[in-house]
């Protein structure tokens, strides 16, 4: 990565080119590809918080929900503000994605500024609590479909926008952690007291990581809403947050490349497990693995922590590693 900006532009062009061929991709695989993209954004942004800044957040799905609901509400209400032509509605969609991200970032600020004064394990539960509160608010908000979920969202998300988002998230996190600011985040992770003694405002850095992480989670939420066309409060529950956490830990906290790989693998895994149910000669339990993937994930977490806390791909780096 000699020139990160160049890589970013290249990735975006690549996304546009592949997007041109999207009609020839099998819809099933296309669906998986988009889901991989969204999960990569979620995992990479959570990695900024957990892996690079050392703050354990169990509420990433909550920020995703804020982005998803905000953007879906916006395109639902103002989708045809500039007319019904494709560029006009597309512009609203992109605006809604950005504003959804900003709304999530704002939620991140609200959550982060008070709770980041807390120690690690408290933070995990407080962030979990906040995402439950966010869910509770949505469940009681009529304009957002309350407990019925919000449907009828126009499908705008395609390969291009998803991987544009992926490129932005990866670029953003990598440039940040390789900058002098990045050394500040890492310092906070390694030793807060020493970081303060180096003149680093630890609270500010933690909140920053949180806000940036939340922004990308919100962006991913917007992409998700405009792909699935239906969102439900339970889709952003505690287990969704755990899913993202598993991606980060499996990939290796603090390794963006590893986390991307893990996000892709863990998106494909349930699909592979589902195929197993059609294999007649497999024993009964193996055929139901898809329904019980949480057992697999939790075992993976425990075994990894006991034997390989750096994750499976913790040493993986993009490019040569020098900024």
């Amino acid at each position: 990565m000699r020139n990160p900006k160049f890589c970013l532009i290249l990735a975006v062009i690549l996304a546009a080119v592949v997007n041109g061929f999207s009609s020839v991709i099998n819809p099933y695989y296309y669906d998986i590809l988009i889901t991989i993209g969204i999960n990569v954004i979620l995992a990479v942004s959570l990695n900024l918080v957990i892996g690079y800044t050392g703050q354990f957040s169990l509420g990433h799905a909550g920020f995703m929900a804020v982005g998803a609901y905000f953007s879906a509400w916006m395109t639902g209400r103002y989708g045809v503000l500039f007319g019904e032509s494709a560029p006009a509605t597309g512009a609203i969609y992109v605006l809604a994605l950005i504003l959804g991200g900003l709304a999530a970032a704002f939620a991140g600020l609200l959550v982060g500024s008070p709770s980041l004064r807390l120690r690690g394990d408290y933070l995990a539960i407080v962030t979990l609590g906040f995402s439950e509160i966010i869910k509770g608010v949505i469940q009681n908000a009529e304009p957002l479909g309350a407990q019925r979920g919000l449907g009828g969202i126009v499908q705008h998300t395609n390969f291009f926008w998803t991987f544009f988002g992926v490129a932005l998230a990866v670029y953003g996190v990598l440039t940040l952690v390789h900058s002098t600011y990045g050394s500040g985040f890492l310092a906070v992770r390694d030793d807060e007291i020493a970081a303060e003694a180096m003149g680093i405002n630890t609270t500010k850095y933690k909140v920053l990581a949180f806000v940036i992480g939340a922004f990308f989670a919100g962006l991913a939420g917007g992409l998700y809403a405009h792909f699935k066309q239906f969102i439900h409060p339970e889709g952003f529950n505690f287990l969704k947050s755990v899913d993202i956490v598993v991606m980060v830990i499996l990939g290796g906290m603090g390794s963006t490349a590893g986390v991307c790989l893990a996000a892709a693998l863990l998106t494909i895994l349930p699909e592979v497990l589902r195929m197993l149910s059609d294999v007649p000669w497999l024993p009964e339990p193996a055929r139901h693995l898809a329904d019980n993937r949480m057992i697999l994930y939790s075992l993976l977490l425990i075994v990894l922590m006991l034997n390989r806390p750096q994750g499976l791909f913790g040493r993986l780096r993009f490019g040569a590693g020098k900024p």
Binding site: I125, I133, I295, S298, L300
Partner: protein
């Protein structure tokens, strides 16, 4: 007024359950300085231990629901959970004692998920009807109490509160008046000094997990007497609320956990009764956040500092 009193009664019964679970969080935190995320799932396992052993045990005691039978079921569940707690500590936490906190925290979350999802696999995901181990009914209040006689107090509620008080008393005796209790307290004040004074760290930790898990197991059975529908994920929400109770009371402080449990039970019942049931969980979390912001050491706890 009567209705409010009724809510208070229900709240106290619910709070007693949270208090029992919260004690486990607080005891483990006291000696290890970490949150045992899997504790709520041990409570769930307590309920299932009761579910599977109750029919057999009741048969020994004459077949039908009986107090002796119920006591035996309760004790069995406590013993089973104590064993599970010790196993969890042994297999998952002990090897990580010198590791960064984050590693231990993630492991604890993993254990919690494993017990929850493993429970779904083994027991089945759908709710089960807990067998009737005592004949639960409303207690007839004397009519001389006037309008108070319309209050509903069930045998189950009395039992829950009574059992909780007895267990708390036993725990207090153990912690304050036995050698093991002294070792536990020494450990929570200064682990290094305690082990230099000959306190067997491993044994005390096992003991702490055993006691805490037994309490959670008891809570699992006692809950099921009142609400006889159990499922493998029942531990998640109860565990989180009990954790909030422990923090509210001051984590590491046993009387604090009991007080916190009581307050959370009351708050929850009042919110459901007077506000809106969907706000129940969010409000409990709001309490947690407020406590951590304004009084992180809880109601009865003492502030702590990191040594530099």
């Amino acid at each position: 007024m009567i209705e409010f009193l009724q809510q208070l009664i229900n709240g106290v019964a619910q709070g007693a359950i949270y208090a029992l679970i919260a004690i486990g969080y607080t005891m483990v935190f006291g000696v290890l300085r970490f949150i045992n995320f899997a504790h709520g799932d041990v409570y769930m396992l307590g309920a299932f231990a009761g579910f599977y052993t109750a029919p057999g045990i009741l048969k020994i005691f004459g077949g039908g629901p009986s107090y002796a039978g119920a006591a035996a079921v309760l004790l069995t569940a406590m013993v089973i959970c104590a064993g599970i707690g010790v196993l969890i500590e042994r297999i998952c936490y002990r090897p990580l004692r010198e590791h960064p906190r984050l590693t231990v925290l993630i492991t604890a979350i993993g254990v919690s998920l494993l017990l929850g999802s493993g429970g779904q696999y083994v027991f089945g995901a759908d709710p089960k009807a807990f067998p009737e181990i005592i004949a639960d009914a409303a207690i007839e209040l004397p009519t001389s109490w006037g309008s108070f006689s319309t209050l509903t107090i069930t045998i189950g509620q009395v039992l829950v509160v009574g059992c909780t008080l007895v267990l708390l008393f036993v725990l207090k005796t153990v912690v304050l008046h036995t050698k093991t209790g002294l070792a536990m307290r020494a450990l929570s004040l200064n682990p290094t000094a305690a082990s230099l004074m000959g306190v067997n760290l491993d044994a005390i930790l096992s003991f702490t997990f055993a006691i805490g898990s037994a309490m959670a197991g008891a809570a699992g059975v006692l809950t099921s007497i009142q609400q006889p529908s159990i499922d493998p994920l029942m531990g998640v929400s109860a565990g989180l609320k009990a954790f909030v109770a422990a923090v509210l009371g001051g984590i590491g402080n046993i009387p604090g956990a009991a007080l916190g449990g009581l307050l959370i039970g009351l708050l929850e019942t009042l919110v459901v009764g007077y506000v809106n049931p969907t706000y129940r969980d969010p409000l409990v979390f709001a309490v947690l956040i407020l406590v951590l912001l304004f009084r992180p050491s809880g109601l009865l706890g003492k502030p702590e500092r990191e040594k530099v």
